[in-house]
């Protein structure tokens, strides 16, 4: 029974990684940049929800919605202010360094406003725990909601990308910005939309994460951010199903390693698995072959 419960916890943690990894992978796929501030957007989402709950006495649903709006606006702003001006001229390295700068900026602004003490986050999830097998296997409400959210998000996003005009425009921009413009697609707007979606999802991930691991500090986003980035690379950066598979595998490996090997070594094991995967398949599990321009 304990193995099963570890697996379920792993899938749940992995679902959060997957939701975060989507933001990395979509932004990479379309803007061809690594948005290292993405993890910190999660943390901002957590604080936004917490503020609504404590100071505005909002209902959990309202807190989540406000958190999504705050992160979406934040994502669009970061892109417009910090990344867009660099897109045409600067080297990819300049964009990467800017992203790291934005990451520290977000951490420090939150530090200034809320202080460095970790805040106790109360779960916003009203779903009761599920007891199975006569109480031997317990699945928390947070776990259930996290896994369901991940499935819903993946399904909706996949349909959006493949079935809508806007989603196909995103694919076109991802493949060839010049040709996309010749079709009449506004590339800047499409990239802004990608940031908006990724950041809105980061808010959801932040609330889910804080509901399961209820402690929130200005650095809460860093480690899940890095793990989700690893998950995105693991699955094949740029690939949406890859982010899903990468995230879930990563969560499961992490929890199993903690349970059966060593909780200190768990992170090292996660990264070791990544290195092995990349040695065998450099583009990640579902990564596309890098296309040569003829």
């Amino acid at each position: 029974m304990s193995f099963l419960s570890y697996m379920i916890n792993g899938i749940s943690l992995g679902s959060v990684y997957a939701i975060i990894a989507l933001g990395y992978t979509m932004v990479y796929g379309i803007a061809k940049m690594l948005n290292f501030a993405h993890g910190d957007v999660i943390m901002v989402g957590g604080y936004a929800a917490l503020t609504m709950l404590l100071n505005a006495n909002a209902s959990p649903l309202a807190a989540v919605l406000v958190s999504i709006v705050v992160c979406t606006v934040l994502g669009i702003t970061i892109e417009a202010v910090a990344y867009r001006p660099l897109r045409a001229a600067a080297s990819p390295l300049a964009v990467l360094i800017t992203a790291i700068g934005v990451s520290y900026l977000l951490q420090n602004v939150v530090l200034l406003i809320f202080g460095s003490n970790p805040k106790n986050f109360q779960s916003v999830i009203p779903v009761p725990d599920l007891k199975l097998a006569g109480g031997a296997l317990m699945i928390t409400g947070e776990t259930i909601v996290t896994i369901i959210s991940c499935i819903v998000i993946m399904t909706v996003l996949t349909l959006f990308i493949n079935r809508t005009r806007t989603g196909q425009a995103m694919q076109a921009v991802s493949e060839d910005k010049g040709a996309a413009q010749l079709m009449g697609i506004n590339v800047n707007q499409t990239i802004a939309l990608t940031f908006a979606i990724g950041s809105g999802l980061a808010a959801v991930a932040g609330v889910l994460l804080c509901s399961s691991y209820p402690s929130l500090s200005p650095y809460t986003g860093s480690m899940p951010g890095i793990k989700a980035f690893v998950a995105a690379v693991f699955g094949g950066i740029g690939s949406i199903p890859g982010a899903m598979i990468g995230g879930i595998l990563l969560g499961v490996i992490e929890i199993l390693a903690k349970a059966y090997i060593s909780s200190q070594l768990a992170d090292a094991i996660v990264f070791a698995v990544l290195i092995v995967v990349l040695l065998v398949k450099p583009t990640g599990l579902l990564g596309k072959q890098i296309q040569e321009k003829v």
């Binding site: 196909q168 694919q171 076109a172 040709a179 996309a180 010749l182 079709m183 590339v187």
Partner: protein, 236 residues
């Protein structure tokens, strides 16, 4: 008044000047050929016309409006379609989805369906392969898709950059037949080609581009019989 007019265009890549003040005009209904050797600036010219590259100096006038500063994504809606060099179809999208991207700025579903039917009629191969990913098409089929995609915007003028590049002789003939048809159906054509003989055979007038400057211009037949052109571009 010319339909499309380039006036004294200067275009740079960093400090390298690729276009050194070129001017030309395209009248409604014409087929204009722009010929020149590798690196002469043909692609640069087309990219400047559709806003993918900025002109440092000079103007582009389309149907009386100055479009020099209009951003690339607003050009197609004005009636200018561009079939880029190397085709640049969206390889991950299906043939059908590529064609629909060509109609991205259009709203009326009925009219779009009509255009799609026309494209399928002109390129039956595309209809046979409509669910196939564009990346899996042969070079000639991709060229047809790139042309079909451009026609889906219902352009008044179509700019084509070396549509015959890298194709087998049979496909080359087919592509030139189609260009003729497109022109006969009322669309103005600006054709960039290295295959000068074929381009001059279907063009009304032509411009010869040499290292960023227009060195010759005239009626296509005259250029076909021009000694300098024959030597440099027709291999005679």
């Amino acid at each position: 008044m010319a339909m499309l007019e380039a006036k004294n265009l200067h275009v740079y890549y960093g400090v390298i000047q690729a276009l050194k003040g070129i001017s030309f005009e395209v009248n409604q209904g014409e087929v204009i050929a722009l010929i020149g050797a590798n690196g002469a600036g043909k692609t640069t010219t087309l990219h400047t016309l559709t806003g993918l590259l900025p002109a440092k100096q000079g103007h582009i006038i389309f149907e009386g409006k100055d479009i020099t500063k209009v951003p690339a994504h607003k050009i197609v809606k004005m009636g200018i379609a561009h079939v880029p060099e190397g085709r640049r179809v969206f390889s991950q999208l299906s043939v059908y989805e590529n064609l629909m991207m060509g109609a991205f700025t259009r709203k009326d579903k009925g009219e779009i369906a009509e255009s799609l039917a026309n494209v399928y009629k002109r390129f039956p191969r595309l209809e046979e392969r409509k669910t196939q990913r564009a990346g899996t098409l042969s070079g000639g089929e991709q060229q047809m898709l790139a042309m079909g995609r451009a026609l889906m915007s219902r352009p008044r003028i179509i700019l084509m950059d070396e549509p015959s590049m890298g194709l087998s002789p049979i496909f080359v003939n087919e592509i030139f037949d189609i260009i003729k048809e497109v022109s006969e159906s009322g669309t103005t054509v600006l054709l960039v080609e290295q295959n000068a003989k074929k381009a001059l055979a279907i063009a009304d007038r032509a411009y010869v581009l040499e290292t960023g400057e227009i060195s010759l211009e005239g009626r296509a037949e005259e250029l076909l019989h021009n000694e300098a052109v024959q030597k440099a571009y027709l291999g005679e």
